[in-house]
Structures are given as C-alpha cells and as structure tokens.
C-alpha cells in the first residue's frame, strides 16, 4: 500500500516532466542567449544596455503604464457588468454573453484594422462624430491602446467573475443584508471580497494579456512603443535580428509578469476561503425601467466590443479592386478563398479540438494542485504554466522551432508541434479561471467523497471537477476561441500541410488582400459563433457559459 504513490504526487510529477520538456527546455535555451556573449562567455551586457538606453527601457515604462491602466479599466468595466448579468434578469442576456465572448476574439490582425476603419483619422465613426461637431482624439497612441485593450480584454473579467458570482453562497449576502447593509455596501464588503481570488485571477489575465499583446500596440501605437513590440522586432525583422537582446527583453518581460503573478498568488493565499455553496444566489427581477436601462448599458458595451467583427463581416462583402475596397457589395472575396479553405478548416479543427482536450485536462489538474495542494512545488508549477502567456506567440514559435527541430525531439513541421504550442500557450486561461473557482469550493465536500471510499483521483473527477465546471468552462471557452484564432505561433510553426484558417488570413492581410482576409475572418467568426451556440445547446440547462 505504502509504496503506491498517491494520485496527486503522480500528477504533479507528470506535470513537471511535461513542463520540463515543453517549457523549460525550449525557453531555457532561448533565455540562455540573453547572458551568453557571441564569444560564448557569460555576460550581462544586454541587461546593462537595456537599462542604459532609453530606446529600450522606455518601452518597459510604456508597457507598465498601459498594463496597469488597462487592468484597472477592465476591472471597472467587467465587474459591474458581471454583477448585473448574474444577478438581474437583463434583457438579451445570452446575446450579450455571446457578443462579449466574441469580442475577445478579434480575428488576427484584421480585427485590429477595424478599429482604424472605425476610429482612425479617416475612420467612419470619427467622420460621423466630426460631422456632429464632436472632435475625437485620435485612436493612435496611449489613449487608443488603452481603449482598444479595455474593450477587448474586459471580457476576461466579465467571464471569470460571472462564474464566481454565480457560485457564491447566497446566505452570506443575506447575512450582510440582515445586518443592514444596502446593496452597494453589501457588494463592496461581502460579495466582492469573497470572490476576490477570481477577481485577482481575471485581473492577472488582463495584465498579462496586455503586457504580452503586441498586435494592437503595433497597429495603433504609432510612436508609442511597448516592450512586446520591441521583442518582436528584435526577434523577427527583415533587417537583421539581435537574438541576445531579444532574449534579454523576453527575460525582462517574464520577470515582470512573474513578479505580478507571485504578488497575486501571495495575496490570494491570504484570501483563501472555502464555502459550501448550497444555495446559489437567485436572479433578481428588476422593475421595467431600471431593467431596460441596465440592459441597454450592458448591451452597448458588449456591442462595442463586437463592433470590429461587424466591420470585418461587412468588409468581407464589399466589392474589391485589387487591395482596395470600392463601393458596392459582392461575394467575390468568398469566391476567392473558397478553394483553399477545406484543408485549413480541417486543420484548425483537428488541432484545436486536440489541444482543447489536453488544455482542459491539464488545466484542471494544475489548478487543483496549485490551489488545493498548495506547496512550493505546486506554486512553481503554477508560475511556470503562466509564463508562456507573456511571451509573444511568434517568439514561442521560434523557441519551439529551434528546440524541436533537432534530436532528441524532432517535431518541427508536424501537427504535433502546433498542438503542443497551442496547449502551452492557451493553458493559462483555463488554469486561471479554474483556480479562481477552486478557492470557493469547500474541501469537506471532497473529504466526504474520500470518506466514502473514492480515491482522490476518482473524487476529483466525480465531485471536484464537476463543481469546478463553471470555472473550467469559462476558461475552456476562452482557450478554445483563442486557439482557433491563434496566429502568431502558428505562423512560425506551420508547414505546407498544417496551415490553419488564421494563417491564411494573415497571408492575405500581409499581402494586401483585405477583402479575402475579411472573408476568411468572417468565416472564423462564424465558426466561433457556431461553436458557442453548439456548446450552449449541448450543455443545455446543465451549465451556462457565464
């Protein structure tokens, strides 16, 4: 009996082994470049350079300024919306949810162009507002990045916090009310503090995403350069790269995010409370006027996030002439892409489905380890899982490429490398949202199962996993959507036969085929939408997305 390792030790060991192969190995060799001089010695020149030259260190400052602002604005927007959506009988809630989830998924590159089409100097909305006499500041620069990030990333907060708010024990709120707290005070002193682990998780996701995302700032940053853009440039450039500097920058960005991650972990650790939520809170029926007003406000925000995709879909039907749109509508763009879709769609789905299954399994296990079996090693595991998240996808692609293109492991050019990259890169969504919800689950429920003779492993799958479902699902949806839309690592890793839809989009955009790109992106949007609907149908009545 004694020599059989217990389930969770085995899991932990297995996770570490996988991490070692697919994370530590590629990244370590990549990071090593930051301190290895061209002559082969160890040097910290690159770091010295970074802190000496304003060109470099200013990007760090810019990045932090953006991340912090965006995290705050996303929380400010996402939490109230999550509250309203879970507690009130809003009109059009499911439509709103779909729009919000969809807004996370700006089809690569072209989605961001939509913002320029809408809010650029010559943008449709800008012109419209100018005609009304409203002078919009330009979308470019700090303000624009913050705006676009906020609209794009608040869904993390919304989704994660909704999940948690739905599984709080209602008697806590009632207790607060019985002690004379009005709604606002109740929310501030009981509801939010109790779901704080989840709030922090979602804030972390926003922070990390805005720290890592280079697409948006690249597009509308103009002169305002942030760290990931710089990393991207140092790794991928037509005019020569500086791998040493690039690794240095990667190390710095990883350090930043690790710091924030550890901070979050430390705070959450102190706020780790269990409750047995037998009675989830009821949905309150609002009176007609507030109901309409609140619904309208929420849907407006959701719509704003969804707007870029509407622009994309509209564009896909516009008539094109070479690279430019002309007036009138046609289906030409779709005709153009029709012949190249089947393989790419097939790839997108096979890779994504495989990846998502692995993500859900690993995500739950890792989250469980780091929350319920808290130890130094499981915290380390949690931290490691998070860090691919802040590495630009293309850089991760490069790390994988150079690590798995030579013995002992040769994976380059195969579907496996794409799938592994997706898993490594999209795992954090599921891990974060799941660990958020895990903090709320009373451990005595698990103990009850164990006392009835189910092994910890079986207990995990029959009880804990089921109770984690709301968190797992919202994380898995995010993972899924961002996997089918994943571009930046794919572009480095695909080979002739393993191209995905988003690769095709990129190729069109990069070459000015905006009409066809829009058509491809619309298809992706449609696919995303369909998978959401499908999910809702399959899980009818059992679990909701949010």
């Amino acid at each position: 009996m004694k020599r059989r390792l217990d389930f969770w030790s085995v899991v932990k060991f297995a996770c570490f082994a996988l991490m070692l192969v697919f994370l530590v190995y590629p990244f370590f060799s990549m990071f090593a470049k930051s301190i290895i001089s061209p002559e082969g010695g160890v040097t910290f020149d690159n770091f010295a350079q970074f802190f000496k030259l304003k060109y470099y260190y200013s990007t760090l400052k810019n990045s932090l300024s953006i991340c912090i602002t965006v995290t705050l604005t996303c929380l400010a927007l996402g939490i109230p919306m999550a509250y309203c959506a879970t507690r009130y009988n809003l009109i059009g809630k499911s439509v709103m949810n779909v729009m919000i989830i969809m807004s996370l998924m700006s089809p690569p590159f072209i989605g961001a162009y939509s913002w320029i089409v809408l809010l650029g100097r010559n943008g449709a909305l800008t012109k419209f507002l100018t005609n009304l006499g409203i002078n919009m500041p330009s979308i470019y620069g700090w303000g624009g990045i913050v705006l676009v990030f906020t609209i794009k990333l608040f869904p993390y907060v919304y989704l994660y916090v909704s999940g948690a708010l739905g599984s709080i024990d209602s008697s806590l709120e009632e207790a607060s009310e019985s002690l004379g707290s009005g709604k606002f005070r109740r929310i501030m002193t009981v509801t939010l503090p109790v779901v704080m682990p989840t709030i922090l998780s979602s804030g972390l996701m926003v922070f990390m995403t805005s720290l890592a995302d280079f697409g948006t700032p690249m597009l509308i940053g103009e002169g305002y350069k942030v760290l990931p853009v710089l990393i991207y440039e140092e790794y991928i450039s037509e005019v020569g790269t500086n791998a040493g500097m690039a690794s240095t920058l990667s190390v710095i960005i990883v350090l930043c995010s690790t710091f924030v991650l550890l901070l979050q972990n430390a705070v959450v650790m102190k706020k780790n409370y269990n409750m047995s939520a037998l009675r989830p809170p009821a949905v309150i029926k609002l009176r007609p006027i507030p109901r309409v007003l609140i619904s309208f406000a929420c849907i407006l925000v959701a719509f704003l996030g969804f707007l870029p995709q509407i622009v994309v879909v509209v564009s896909s039907f516009r008539k094109t002439s070479g690279p430019i749109f002309t007036s009138g509508f046609s289906l030409n763009s779709y005709r153009d892409i029709a012949y190249k879709l089947s393989q790419n769609i097939k790839n997108t789905f096979t890779f994504s489905i495989t990846a998502i299954i692995l993500i859900v399994i690993f995500g739950m296990l890792v989250a469980y380890l780091s929350v319920k079996r808290r130890s130094k090693t499981s915290t380390l595991l949690d931290t490691m899982v998070m860090f691919p998240y802040v590495i630009p996808g293309a850089v991760l692609g490069i790390a994988f490429l150079s690590a798995f293109n030579k013995p002992p492991i040769v994976l380059a050019g195969t579907p496996i490398i794409m799938i592994v990259a997706y898993v490594v890169r999209k795992l954090p969504y599921t891990v974060r949202s799941t660990s958020g919800i895990l903090y709320q689950i009373d451990s005595s429920i698990e103990e009850a199962s164990i006392s009835l003779g189910r092994s910890p492993m079986k207990t995990f799958f029959t009880v804990t996993a089921r109770l984690m479902a709301p968190g797992v699902i919202s994380g898995a949806i995010l993972s899924w959507i961002s996997t089918i839309n994943e571009l930046s690592s794919s572009i480095m890793l695909y080979s002739g036969r393993t191209g995905t839809i988003s690769v095709a989009i990129y190729n069109e955009v990069a070459r000015g085929g905006f009409g066809t790109a829009a058509a491809l992106a619309s298809i992706l949007t449609l696919v995303t939408l369909l998978s959401l609907l499908l999910f809702q149908i399959i899980s009818k009545g059992k679990v909701s997305i949010v």
Partner: protein, 360 residues
C-alpha cells in the same frame, strides 16, 4: 425600538408545494416567540419570509403598521442568525461581529467596545483575530450569534442558533439571549428543534407541521394542554393508548378502561365512547404496592443520568417508554421484570379517538 409583527395568511410555494401554508400570527412587541416543529415543516422558510429573503407568495407581513412584503431586507432592521451560520469567510471574527455596527455610523471606540463585550458574552473573545476557517463548528455558531445581537435590532430572528453547542453553553447562551431580549425589549422570533429550549425561553410557542401552525400558546399550554395528538407527541415523547369510556355521570366523572386497567377521572364534557390517552414516559408510575395497573414486562433499561429509561412491553403488545427518576427508586429495574403501571391522572391528556381534539 422594538415593534410587533403581524403575519396574515402568509404563503410560500415552491412549485406546487406549499412550504408555508396560510400562516397567521400576531407577535407582540418585545415578545419572545418560538417556532417549533419537525424537520422540514417550514420554520426556516417562514423566518426567511419575515427577514425578507423569501418572497411572500400570498398574504401579508406587517412590522407595526408597515406592510413589509416588498421592503428590502436591509432596511428592515433585523438581526438574523442563520442555520448554516453564514459567517463572512474573508473577515476576522472581530470584523464579522463589527460588520453590522460599521453600517450604523457608530464611533470606532464604541464599536470596539460593543464587539468585545458581545464576544465576551459568547465566550470567544480570545479568538477575535482568527479567521472563521480556523474555528470549530460551535465557535462559528457563536460568531453568528454575536453578529446578530450586537446590533440590537428591532427584531431578532434566530434559526437554530445553538444547535452546535454543548448543553452547558446552550443553557448559558439561551439565558443570555433571553436576558438581552428582555432588557432591550427586542421582538424575537426563534426557531429551535429543542423543546426544552423552546419551553425555557419562549413567551409563546407556535407548533408547526407541514407549513401550518397547529397550536399557538404559552409553554405551559403547549405542554399541558396539547390540542392535537401531534403536539402531544411532538412535545416530549408520548405514547397513545386506546381507551374506552365505561360510564360517565352527569358531573362529567367518567370511568375509563385501558388495557384492563380502569380508572376514574373527571372530564369537562360528554366524552365519546372511544378515546385515546396520551401518556408521557414520566406520567407512568410503577406500582410496586398493589396489583392494579397496566401490566407489562421491562424490555430495555438505560441509565440517562437523572432517570432510568425503560421500554415496557404491555400485555396488549404495545411498547411504551417509561422514565423513573433515579431518586424515586434506587438502581435499575432489571430487564424481564413484570411490572404494573399506573397513570399520573392529573397530567395525562385525553383525546378523541383520532387524536384531533383534546377532551381533557
């Protein structure tokens, strides 16, 4: 200031099921009112309606003259102890208890003082900086209690506030609650499953069954004059013995026969032929002297501190529970002993045949 609570034909339905079924009751200002009834009879549901956490699906609830059916809970000025404690897991014990006061614009010093005093009362002041997760069940329950009473509300609602405390502490706490309640004149509605507790603290008790109030009265009324077999059975154990009126004279004096034992008792009115006697375990008396009494054999004998608990199998085949105080009879009566049981005629309750109406 305290207030009276008037409940008029209140109804709560879950689907087709009526958890609270046209309950009407007036609770006086400053009254200590207890809801007592078997598990699942609707006590919590009713309490939550008064607190404002369950919708009122029919009827009205008034606090004083104010219809509160739709008044938000937090403006009702209630204190509530939840059956599952509902302690805020993210606050220390001190903050949990101070929570309600912080809402009331009370100076910090006073808050500290009141919280500490209350924690003292519930005997957990040494734990005030702990988090709830590091507390035992009973300690948590006392936090819930302290949190509700520290705010000195108009109405105090308590749902089994002492269920996880040991007997000593229970008595101390209930005495404390009662004292506080009288001092401040707080109208109190109390849910308990413990009859003794209900009898000890209540001004009036409502016995509930299946969402309805079966009997409403002072502890003595409920105990001594149950109007329904259910109440007799529920408050203290009772055994029901079928009996027959052999004769009754014009004064109401009746001769009643039960299991071969005949006794005379005065009834207030003309009794039906068939009766049902409700006898509590302590209303049986062992007759060691004569041969009179209901005959039976001791089957089980258990020591229960103050008294011995016996199960006696009557010749009729029925088994009845009999308690005998240890000071009335030294040592156990061994299992197997043949005994004769008399009835404590002044105390037993006499029902009609189906137990729905008390004859005496």
């Amino acid at each position: 200031m305290s207030v009276n609570v008037r409940i008029n034909r209140a109804v709560k339905t879950y689907g087709n099921f009526r958890a609270v079924d046209e309950v009407s009751v007036d609770i006086a200002q400053g009254e200590f009112f207890t809801l007592l009834g078997p598990s699942g009879c609707g006590k919590t549901t009713l309490l939550r309606m008064i607190a404002g956490f369950n919708s009122v699906d029919g009827g009205e609830i008034y606090f004083g003259d104010r219809l509160i059916n739709n008044v938000p809970a937090h403006t009702r000025d209630i204190g509530m102890v939840f059956q599952n404690y509902a302690i805020f897991p993210h606050m220390t014990i001190f903050d949990n208890v101070a929570y309600g006061l912080r809402n009331r614009k009370i100076p910090k010093d006073e808050i500290r003082e009141r919280v500490e005093k209350t924690l003292d009362i519930v005997q957990i002041s040494h734990l005030k900086d702990r988090m709830p997760a590091a507390m035992s069940g009973g300690q948590q329950q006392r936090v819930a209690l302290a949190r509700a009473i520290v705010i000195k509300p108009q109405i105090l609602l308590m749902d089994e506030p002492l269920s996880n405390l040991d007997a000593k502490l229970r008595v101390q706490m209930r005495t404390m609650i009662k004292k506080l309640q009288k001092e401040l004149g707080i109208t109190t509605i109390y849910v308990t499953h413990d009859q003794e507790e209900a009898l000890a603290v209540s001004d009036r008790i409502a016995i509930m069954k299946d969402g309805k109030i079966i009997q409403l009265g002072t502890p003595e009324e409920i105990y001594n004059r149950p109007v329904h077999q259910f109440v007799a059975n529920f408050i203290g154990t009772s055994v029901f013995l079928p009996a027959e009126v052999v004769s009754q004279d014009e004064n109401g004096e009746a001769s009643i026969q039960v299991s071969g034992y005949t006794f005379r008792v005065k009834l207030g009115r003309k009794a039906p032929k068939k009766l049902k006697l409700s006898v509590r375990p302590k209303q049986f008396l062992f007759n060691d002297a004569t041969d009179e009494g209901i005959k039976g054999v001791i089957r089980v004998a258990t020591f229960l501190g103050d008294y011995w608990y016996y199960e006696v199998e009557l010749t009729s085949g029925e088994t009845v529970e009999v308690h005998e105080y240890t000071k009335e009879h030294e040592g156990a009566r061994p299992v197997g002993t043949a005994v004769k049981l008399l009835l404590d005629l002044n105390r037993i309750t006499i029902f009609n045949e189906d137990g729905t109406e008390a004859i005496r």
